[in-house]
Each structure stands twice: as C-alpha cells, then as structure tokens.
C-alpha cells in the first residue's frame, strides 16, 4: 500500500504545527517551512495525479483497518484533479504572499497551511463525517486568515461569515447522523451500495438527509439564495487570502458533485436523484445575480467576489445536467474560474495599492505609475473571466453550452450564459476604464507600494496556468472527460474502496434485516 494519498494532508498539518511552535522565529524561517511544505504537497499532488491517471482510484486505509470499519482516503480522477488545482493555486498565492503580506500577521503561514490541509482532506476523504471535519478545519483557518488586522469592516464580514458557516455545520452534523441512523454507515462507497437497499418507509428520511447535505454544500459554494455572506467576506479579506478563497466555494461544488453522483445517482426509491428539479434554475439565478452584483459593485474586490458567485452558477449549470459530458465541461470551467478569479483578486490588490487613498474603489484616483503592465494584467483577467476567445473562459463556456445542447431548457441556458458573459464584459470594462483611465491629480503625494517582482511572477504564473488550459485544451478535456465517465459509473469507485470480495459482515440494527 502506498502512503502517497496521505501526504497532502500530513505534510501541511505537521508543518503548520511546527510553525505554531516557532511563531517567534524569524520570518525567513517561516517562509522556508511554509514554502517547503507547499512544494512537497504540490509534488505529492503531481505524483497522485500520475498514479491515478493510469488506473483505478488509490485507496489509503488509515491504520490499515478495512473499510467500511476504518477510515479511508480515496484519490480518484476527480480528487487528483482538485488536488492539482489546489497545489497550483496555493503555490502561486504563497509566492505572492511572501513578498510582504505574510509579515503583517504572525500566524499567516500556519493558518495558510491548515487551510490547504483542510482543502486537501475534503478532496481526499472517503467518508461523510471526515468531510465535515475537514470542512471545519478549512473554515476555522479561513476565519483566522480573513480577520487579519482586525479592522472593523473585516470583523463584521468575518462575524457574518463565521455565523452562517457554523449554523451550516450544525445542519451538516444533523444530516450526517440522520444518514448514519438510517443506513448504518458513513463511508461514501458503502453508502452508495446501501442506498439501493433502503426500506420503503425510510426513503423519505434518506432523501431528507440528502437534501440537508446539499443545502449545506449550497451554503459553502455560495449558491442563490445562500450567497449573501460571500461578497463582504471575500472583498474585505486580504488579497492573497481572497485569492486562495477562490477555491473554497469550489469545495462546496466538489461535495455536491461527489454526493449526487455517488450516493444519489438517479433511479428508483432512495437512490432517486435529488437535485434535478431545482439545481438548474438555482444555478441560472446564481449566475444572473452574481453578474448583476459585479455590474453594480463599488470596489474591484467586491466585483471579483460577485464574479466568484457567477462562476459557481456557471459550473453548477453543467453539474445540474448530470451527464458525464456536462460534468467534464463543468470541471474544465471550475479549473479556469478558480485560476482567473485568483488573478483578478491579485490584480485588484496591485491596482488598489498603486492608487493611494483611492484604493480599489471605482472612483477616479491618482495616475498610476506602472499603468501599462497593470492595465495589461487587468485586461487579461477581464477578458478571460468574461470569456473572450481564445481565453480559457471562452473554451469553458463553449463546452458548457455544447454539453447542454440536448434539452428543452437549452434556449434559456444559452440566453442566460451568453447575456451574463456580455454583462461581465461590461462590468470589467467599466471597472477597468474608471481605474486605469480616469484620474485626478492628487492633493498630496500618494504613499503607494509599487508591485514587486515576486508579485508579478506569482501573477504571471497563475495567468500562465490559465493559458496552459487553452494550449493543452485537448489533453485537459480528455482528462475531464475521463473524470466525467468515472463519476457516472460508480462501480470502480465502490469496488476500489470496498474490494470485490467484500462481504457484508455486519448488518446494522437500522437496516432491520435478519442476519443470514
């Protein structure tokens, strides 16, 4: 048994603990440990990706207890994809942060690593309760990161963000235990197997638990009508943190994909699909409202936060369709939107810092010193997020449009996606022309901190990843296609976790079946 799947969780956890002990150490040492752990995790993510690509899902049994009794980590195509995305984002964001951001808060590095650990754990875990635990790990780290500096605006935004997420966690626990109460297991592969055998009178309970779970994931992924916490929390967070948060809504999307494809794939009885009547309308409303929010935003960071919501809407449009092909398109869009929203958050920060007191507010400010590179960076981010060809946004949206080709609602979906793309372009053009072209001579000299070389490198790296998605569009879509196929056929996943010779050793009380 290879220990590879445990590395993305263990290494950041140990390094974060070490950094907590060494919190008085010089910043160079903290940076070295933080960077070392992130690079190690990135290498492990690449190794997992290479390993998974060639065959069946990797299953790691903690303490070598056989599932479903022990806890398992499962790295399948989807997990490996998400890990690789997290690794690219985390590396670039950390590179940006070590240029000076990290020195402001004493605990930046350990919190960053705990957040990365929570993300990796959520992507790798094979059971629902550990999904809850890793969600809590990443959330509490994110509260700490979002609070940095303790300004009143940040306090208020974080208080709201923490309150709604703690309430959602309470509901998560109720849903998980209801699931356990009916089915007697929390291992996702085992649940997938058992859900078909649920007795008729328990079907309502299982569906209630499933819908509660999806409600919780909808809070985490900021879906209409549960997204109101996001704009304030993301737009007031420090820029590198906000850029890392770009993947946090995607954890919710990941959980929705995992639970709907594995446990409720559609069919008769308890396995019946839960999302079909409402996920598509909700996704389209989320997309529309997110875009309108971006159009009306008063700050660059708020605009980016609303664009995060819009991107979740677009992804869920693909997920709601449920076919392998549309899941593949949604995943491509997920990767693209995570990268480009991170770029947009970082560019907003650089622009805001270069404008003195005007900050990133959409008001005329002092003239920019590095107007040309900043303007180009903003142009790239805006064009990509709106989906101008040949950007990755264009390809992603095209694939989602293509995959929803067959269906009655095709006119509605196409209209919403195309109109919101135009509106996004309008929002970005408006923001860009105000920030870059409208300026007033300042009354007093501005104390701006010009972008450093390292920050440009981080930004270019993220933008480069987005461009690689276009250059290598064929292999990437082939891979996401494989992910889609794997998600729609549950057999290999269940078999990899439980083993083909798995014998149902224990009948739980709840199933009410006589032991043979």
């Amino acid at each position: 048994m290879t220990h590879l799947p445990a590395v993305p969780i263990i290494v950041p956890a140990l390094a974060a603990a070490l950094l907590l002990i060494l919190h008085r150490a010089p910043i160079v040492m903290k940076r070295t440990i933080g960077m070392g752990a992130t690079v190690t995790f990135a290498v492990a993510a690449l190794a997992i990706f290479a390993e998974v690509r060639s065959g069946a899902p990797l299953v790691y049994r903690l303490g070598d207890w056989p599932p479903p009794f022990g806890i398992v980590l499962v790295a399948d195509h989807l997990s490996a994809f998400m890990l690789l995305l997290t690794a690219s984002l985390a590396l670039a964001v950390l590179l940006y942060a070590v240029q000076g951001w990290d020195a402001r808060g004493k605990l930046f590095h350990p919190l960053f690593l705990f957040l990365v650990m929570g993300l990796n754990g959520a992507f790798l875990t094979g059971d629902l309760f550990n999904l809850f635990v890793f969600f809590e790990v990443l959330l509490i780290a994110s509260y700490g990161l979002a609070l940095e500096g303790l300004e009143v605006e940040r306090l208020r935004a974080t208080l709201h963000y923490a309150a709604i997420n703690i309430a959602a966690s309470g509901i998560f626990l109720i849903a998980v235990s209801l699931m356990y109460g009916v089915m007697g297991t929390l291992n996702m592969a085992h649940l997938a197997e058992r859900v078909a055998e649920v007795r008729a009178e328990d079907v309502g309970l299982v569906r209630a638990a499933g819908l509660l779970l999806l409600g919780v994931f909808a809070v985490k992924s900021a879906v209409f009508p549960l997204y109101f916490w996001l704009p304030a929390a993301y737009s007031h967070a420090p820029a590198p943190v906000a850029a890392l948060f770009a993947i946090m809504t995607k954890v919710g999307v990941y959980a929705i994909i995992r639970v709907t494809t594995l446990i409720f794939p559609g069919g008769e009885g308890a396995v019946m699909e839960l999302t079909s009547p409402w996920l598509m309308p909700v996704a389209l409303i989320t997309l529309t409202l997110g875009t309108l929010g971006a159009l009306g935003a008063q700050r660059l960071a708020t605009m980016t936060a609303y664009l995060t919501i819009a991107s979740v809407g677009t992804i869920l449009t693909g997920v709601a369709d449920g076919e392998g092909k549309s899941l593949a398109a949604a995943l491509y869009y997920l990767a693209h939107s995570t990268l480009v929203i991170a770029v947009l958050f970082l560019v907003s920060d650089l622009l805001g810092r270069s404008r003195g007191a005007a900050g990133d507010r959409l008001h005329p400010g002092p003239p920019l010193r590095q107007a040309a590179p900043l303007g180009l960076a903003f142009l790239f981010a805006g064009a990509t997020v709106a989906g101008i060809p040949p950007s990755s946004g264009f390809l992603g949206k095209l694939m989602i449009l293509q995959s929803t080709m067959n269906g009655l609602s095709v006119v509605l979906i196409w209209t919403v996606i195309l109109v919101t793309s135009v509106l996004t372009l309008v929002a970005c053009s408006r923001a860009g022309s105000i920030v870059l072209w409208n300026y007033v001579e300042p009354d007093q000299p501005t104390h701006d901190r010009p972008p450093r070389t390292g920050e440009w490198i981080a930004l270019t790296a993220l933008a480069g990843c987005s461009m690689l998605l276009v250059v290598f569009a064929a292999p990437v879509t082939r891979y996401t296609g494989e992910v889609g196929t794997q998600l729609t056929s549950r057999g290999p996943y269940i078999e990899a976790v439980l083993g083909s010779g798995y014998d149902d050793l224990v009948r739980p009380h709840a199933m009410g079946k006589a032991t043979p």
Binding site: F129, V133, E136, I140, Y143, L147, L150, V152, L155, R156, T158, L159, H160, A162, A163, I166, A167, S169, G170, I171, L173, I174, V176, S177, L178, Y180, G181, L186, P508, H509, A510
Partner: protein, 118 residues
C-alpha cells in the same frame, strides 16, 4: 424516553433558531451553541437509545449500544466548543471596537432614537 428526547431536541433547536434570528451577537453565540447541542443530542440518539448497555465488548453482555455515534459526538463536541470559543472572542472584539452588540456593529434602534435621554 424516545418521546422525551424528541421533544427535548426539538425545543432546543427551536430556541436556537429564534436566538440566531435576533440581531445581537450575544443571542447569536447562544443560539449557535444551542444548535450544536441539539445536533450533538441528535447524533447521540441516532445510535438508538439503549439504557444500561455498554458500547464495548463485555463478558456476558447480550446487547450493545452503538459506539460509532458516541465517537462522532465526541468529535462534534470538540469542534463545536472550538467554534463557539472563536465566535465568542470575535463578538467581544467587535463589541470593543464598535461599542454595540448588534451583528452589524451599529444599532439600528439607537441610531433612530433622539439624542436626549429620559
């Protein structure tokens, strides 16, 4: 006992929701901790209520309590405790900085009230 437990969990949850919907940080913290208590009781009862039996293998025992929910509830208590502690600290800090215990940092009722007192 099932009925008592059900009514208990329901009442605690209802109180939690009421407190959560008030715009005061103190009620909100209380509401969140009550919600997590209700959740913990719910997890515990999902292992079925069996008084007087042990959750681990014992000589001569005929019936066992399900140990998994007990393990889950321990984890949930620890996490809930940490989260409550965190949000309490956040609420106190917010009160210090804004002088109000309203969740938005400013009191809509006080804002409207005329300056002179009674």
């Amino acid at each position: 006992m099932e009925l008592l437990m059900t009514i208990g969990i329901g009442t605690v949850t209802a109180c939690a929701v009421y407190l959560l919907l008030r715009g005061r940080t103190f009620s909100m913290v209380l509401g969140l901790s009550m919600l997590s208590t209700a959740g913990n009781l719910f997890i515990f009862s999902m292992g079925r209520l069996r008084p007087g039996v042990s959750p681990i293998v014992a000589v001569g025992a005929e019936s066992y309590a399900d140990p998994v929910p007990q393990a889950l509830v321990l984890t949930a208590i620890v996490i809930g405790f940490g989260m409550t502690g965190f949000i309490m600290a956040l609420a106190v800090r917010m009160h210090h900085q804004t002088g109000s215990d309203h969740v938005d940092g400013l009191d809509p009722v006080q804002e409207r009230r005329p300056e002179h007192g009674p």
